[in-house]
Symmetry: C2
Subunit: 293 residues, 2 copies
């Protein structure tokens, strides 16, 4: 994935660097903690999805970048809090010690809070420099709903409360649709909103995003079972050892892969309407579902 | 304080109730956790300050209410995270067990995250129903900066990192100006922004808010030393036992009270320009600094 999207990933990284206060800003500890997790080698899937959707509507990349980065900040905050001892209790993330292992729990909690807050600041300042205020407010609505209790946090809550309990298909789907799906869908919808998409276009892109969001999570679950630890940068089998609900645990690896492929095909159908304009978006979706890490 | 502002407090409570999803919403645990802390008997100082400032400009109360409630949500989120074992490790808040003692650390962390996110959603939806999009974006800028690393979180970080270290006057002032001062100032500024205040008016009100914010915190510190535990709803002397930096520890109780009174007088001078229009604001400031709990 890195090779074909290297330029975009570097552009996102540079923009993130420019939106974050320098690591020497007082009090430096929080800025170091925030930067540690933001620059921990994430795949930048969410900003890339946002940029690729904005590109469907010919939104200039530099106009979409602040929103793309705000979405990555929200994703990173969720990972920092997710890894905390009280939640998933993960000591490693992307092959490096988790934020709280390096900076302590107090700073990890505050670094997560800071990134969530900064995401909304970036929308209200940097995004607002390129779009009408009404578009900014629409983006703020979209992001706050996707990240909130009816979205990502709701999924996180059910995930936490379900650990160690017997698997149920509907609960598993709820968790995935909310914990990861809501923000992935939001990335695509925000790209469409910046592009002044029509209601019909927004609907098609939402369907596309929901399908690849779920496919992405199924692949994530599969990789936890069959993946290469070096490639993933985290211990495989960690979901099994925590008795987490996963697709392979519920349906087996082979059937899970069939489901992911089917979702990808459906996602492609959803954006046929856009023709060539959606080619980058499809290319990205393909990489996400076929990835090995 | 309760008697003279009972109507406004009830109005804020009813509005908060209407903006929070019902406690039975799935997953109910998070909604119960959020409601537990929001309805824990807070003084509603921040929303009242916001409403009183909006009233200076004749903004209808119901137009200002969503913003006032969003600010209270941010305050409540900060208390929930602040009380966590990794941070202040407080088991009680307002005379009741802290959020994490009732719902566990995982849900307390997520309830804080949820309230911060919901605050931005309320601004982007409920506030946006009454004000032009440009005003909403200005409010979002204000709130995100005040709550972020250059504001409240910055103060929280320095507070956490300073525990047990020797007191320094400049560090103490940094903590107070940021940890509590930034959001209090934000409440006043947001009221002024909703009222389409001129730059000069905004400047005067900011000065007023900074002074009462600091006075409020000094009084808080004093009450921790001399206050009645029943009145305060928390153990007094907790700052001393944690070797927290406080004004009484640095200057003594008497001198601290002199400082608070002087700040209050300066705050009154700052809003003289508004004449009778600022009477409710001055009345509120007076109650805050003269309070016994």
């Amino acid at each position: 994935m890195k090779s074909s999207w290297q330029r975009e990933i570097e552009t996102v990284n540079e923009a993130l660097d420019s939106y974050l206060p320098p690591a020497t800003t007082f009090p430096p500890e929080i800025h170091q903690a925030v930067r540690y997790s933001i620059f921990a080698g994430g795949k930048r899937l969410r900003p890339l999805l946002n940029l690729a959707t904005a590109a469907v509507f010919d939104v200039p990349e530099r106009h979409a970048l602040p929103t793309a980065c705000a979405l990555e900040m929200i994703h990173t905050y969720s990972l920092i809090h997710d890894d905390l001892p009280a939640l998933d209790n993960d000591d490693f993330r992307r092959g490096r010690p988790a934020n709280h292992k390096v900076f302590g729990e107090a700073l990890a909690i505050l670094a997560g809070d800071a990134l969530l807050t900064l995401a909304f600041e970036i929308l209200a300042t940097e995004t607002a420099a390129f779009f009408p205020a009404q578009t900014v407010v629409a983006l703020q609505q979209e992001v706050s709903k996707a990240a909130g209790m009816a979205g990502m946090i709701g999924g996180q809550v059910v995930d936490v409360l379900s650990e160690g309990k017997p698997l149920k298909a509907e609960t598993l789907e709820y968790i995935h649709r909310h914990k990861t799906g809501a923000l992935i869908t939001c990335c695509v919808r925000c790209g469409a909103i910046m592009g002044q998409a029509t209601k019909e276009e927004l609907c098609l892109l939402t369907s596309f995003a929901q399908k690849i969001g779920l496919a992405f999570q199924i692949v994530d679950d599969i990789l936890d079972v069959v993946g290469d630890e070096k490639c993933l940068g985290k211990k495989t089998g960690s979901d099994v050892s925590k008795k987490k609900m996963t697709y392979p645990a519920l349906y087996g690896v082979q059937q899970s892969q069939v489901m992911a492929d089917k979702l990808l095909a459906e996602a492609f159908t959803a954006v046929e309407y856009f023709g060539e304009r959606a080619s980058k978006l499809k290319q990205l979706a393909n990489l996400l579902v076929k990835r090995q890490q």
